[in-house]
Amino acid sequence: MGKATTDDDLTIAGKSFKSRLFLGTGGISNLDILESVIKAAEPSFVTVAMRRVSPDQQDSFFQIIERLNVSILPNTAGCFTTSEAVLTAKMAREALSTDWIKLEVIADEQSLLPDPFELLKAAEELVDDGFRVLAYANDDPVLASRLEGVGCSAVMPLGAPIGTGLGILNPYNIQLIVANSGVPVILDAGLGTPSDAVQALELGCDAVLVATAITRAQNPVGMAEAFSLGVRSGLAAFRSGRVPKLNSALASSPMEGRLEISHSPHQRNS
């Protein structure tokens, strides 16, 4: 498992957090339910994008999240190049007075998959500029290792492409990333339902980030609560040592002491 998951708290870059759930705000249908969703999810972080502002919209979203007193993690969602991501991160730092950034650099608008080359360059540049970089990446153990190598504070491999709800497509790669990582591993993107989050924690991930599966659920508040329960379940299961998978049956009940049916010569006729 990544760092510190034997502790109750999640520790990233020297800071501790209670919840293994990060909440993405992408896809929220209206700001009226945002507060209820955040309260139900009880996330360690709420992630936000940075977008051009117009006079009529600039107050409402920031005012809401500021009032809720949650930890805000800005991201570079929608960036396609190193320079776009680096400038967006620097503007986020200026706007929100935080040097934490969830780094996303995507290759194209269709797949929304990370561009590993631009991502690695951006990560290195931002780490050198003093940022705490949490890097959203492909489920590629080599890329994860490189991102940690340039100083990322956490790696965030995808379970499946953004918004697909397909869950964890390659659990073997996720396990490899976890086994080789010295920084927290936060599964991010593609989760569809709380059992996906349970699986992530059972595989050894330290946390999950969920946006679409909550914000676009039929009942976002209910789903937020379900995910909050799911990460707690997954972590408890991981710590409890599951039974191994076997190729043949293993009786769970002892064979000794079972009854035997035998017929006595004096048995009465029915």
Partner: protein, 76 residues
């Protein structure tokens, strides 16, 4: 005489992709105030460099400056 010093010439900057005229001597702070931008949580980049809020009042607008004004929104 440069474009910037010609009195009465039409000077423009780009703000979030829109061309905005300005007058000589106007600062970034003036511009943000005039456009109704610059609330808490807003960041400004001038020609692809972050311009800290503390420098808005002392930064003069120059013709063809490109500004990006970003704030947190739901996303990601």
């Amino acid at each position: 005489m440069t474009k910037d010093t010609m009195k009465g010439s039409s000077l423009c900057v780009l703000v979030n992709g829109r061309s905005i005229p300005f007058t000589t001597g106007e600062t970034v702070a003036d511009l943000m105030s005039r456009l109704g931008l610059g609330a808490k949580g807003t960041a400004v980049a001038q020609n692809a460099e972050v311009l800290p809020r503390s420098l808005w009042h002392s930064s003069m607008l120059r013709g063809d400056d490109v500004f990006e004004v970003l704030a947190p929104q739901a996303g990601g």
